[in-house]
């Protein structure tokens, strides 16, 4: 099968890949670009472990073709930490024990990252519906909610100090 060249921006860097039309974005991210942070869970767009950011929206990369990323801006969990420092969301998941086995965490972080930009001051109920596309089989979600709340406070404090 003929391959198509696809160019997009991944975590701030321009990348070119040759893909078959039938290849899904998650497979190209993991197998060609060697970014194995995004996980393959259910492969049926239910679990959210493969969540990445495409053009400023959270999407499930198991249900998007890699060819559809042509010209897109893509961010994966590998793009969260900057300059050797954890992103406030990552720090919050550590501090609040927002993970146990960690399998769902990359998806939780990427959804949380976008969700807190859509809604910087969410109520607990809003967090629950905003994070409803991500499943966790360990934590019972309580600490994930707490992690998002802690991250929201940290991010808002940062924004506040920048504005001063």
């Amino acid at each position: 099968m003929a391959k198509t060249q696809v160019s997009f921006n991944l975590n701030g860097q321009d990348v070119d890949v040759l893909v078959e039309a039938r290849e899904l974005l998650i497979h190209v991210l993991r197998e060609q670009l060697q970014l194995t942070g995004s996980h393959i869970g259910c492969e049926t767009s239910h679990c959210g472990a493969c969540t990445v950011d495409v053009n400023g929206q959270s999407i499930k990369s198991c249900t998007m073709l890699a060819v559809q990323a042509q010209g897109a801006t893509v961010m994966t969990v590998e793009g969260l930490a900057a300059g050797g420092e954890l992103h406030p969301l990552q720090q919050a998941f550590m501090d609040e024990h927002g993970l146990q086995c960690g399998f769902c965490t990359p998806g939780m972080l990427m959804r949380g990252y976008r969700f807190l930009q859509e809604n910087p001051n969410p109520s607990e109920e809003e967090i629950r519906s905003g994070m409803a596309g991500n499943l966790c089989r360990c934590t019972g979600y309580q600490n994930i909610i707490k992690s998002i709340q802690t991250a929201a406070a940290a991010l808002n404090a940062n924004t506040g100090s920048q504005a001063e």
Partner: protein, 289 residues
């Protein structure tokens, strides 16, 4: 899971997309949001040789008002329905219902046109379109035609859309005065299809029901209007007893498929309950008691 091989096309205009559909006929499928088609392809329930991706056609996206009608582009995402101030103001049932569809990530990709065109009785937009008396614009090689939602859903995965046509626009009248609408959906969990769901649109004149539209999701081979249930309400001052009678009429047309969500009896019963809740909420939203 990886879909079978296919040739990928990403036309930039409706005309180019229709040319591709005309050329490849039944061997081609339209790719909208992909959240029904790609999973089906992974499971080999669908094996199109050509995939015509219409995500790059900007004219198919967006919500506007034109000649007193609300016009929704078929490639408008569920997320865009939810955040549309125009819909919140003039067709509030649609954004409220879209919140009950799938989850945030899926709603960013999933489109209203894909949900309608797929013909799945479990999808939510068909019943909403029936209750709202929507009109669809279908464009094919011989131009555009308009079709009422009531004439569009022909059977499970079977609609009036021809193989070389694309659903481009959905037209809905803005909600009339003294009107309330509600969509009530029972589902087991986030992202699930409805066990049963009902849409109701009710217009009051004083305390009297002037008109009523009721439609059901996942309770038969397609979404369907419950006309006999509507007839119970029109011209009456609606009370609990009439709501119960209307729900009984709605249950009489239910023929749900048995699956893990429940057997036919349970689903029919839930269809009645969703109908009752939708009627009550619609009356409340219309400003009645």
């Amino acid at each position: 899971m990886i879909p079978p091989s296919f040739e990928y096309h990403a036309p930039g205009s409706v005309a180019d997309a229709i040319a591709l559909l005309s050329q490849y006929g039944d061997a081609a499928k339209i790719l909208a949001g992909g959240h029904s088609l790609l999973p089906m392809m992974k499971l080999r329930f669908a094996e199109p040789e050509h995939l015509v991706d219409i995500n790059n056609i900007d004219s198919l996206k967006g919500i506007r008002e034109e000649d007193g009608e609300i016009v929704i582009g078929s490639m408008t995402s569920e997320s865009a329905l939810i955040t549309s101030t125009l819909l919140q103001e003039k067709c509030p049932m649609l954004p409220e219902a879209a919140k009950m569809i799938a989850d945030p990530q899926v709603r960013n990709r999933g489109t209203i046109g894909g949900d309608i065109s797929h013909g799945d009785p479990g999808n939510d937009h068909p019943a909403l379109m029936l209750a709202l008396d929507a009109t669809f614009t279908l464009v094919g090689p011989n131009g555009a035609r308009q079709i009422a939602a009531a004439d569009f859903f022909l059977g499970t995965f079977f609609t009036a859309l021809e193989a070389d046509e694309i659903l481009t626009e959905i037209r809905i009248a803005p909600q009339a005065a003294n009107t309330g609408a509600s969509y009530q959906k029972l589902k087991r969990k986030t992202g699930d299809y409805a066990t049963a769901a009902a849409a109701a649109v009710i217009t009051l004149s004083g305390d009297t029901c002037q008109s009523a539209a009721i439609a059901l999701t996942n309770l038969g081979a397609t979404a369907m209007r419950a006309s006999a249930a509507e007839a119970v309400l029109v011209g009456q001052v609606i009370d609990e007893d009439l709501i119960k009678q209307a729900a009984t009429k709605a249950m009489e047309i239910c023929e749900p498929a048995e699956d893990l969500r429940g057997d036919a009896e349970y689903k029919t019963h839930m269809g009645g309950e969703m109908t009752r809740r939708a009627i009550r909420a619609a009356i409340k939203n219309a400003g009645g008691n």
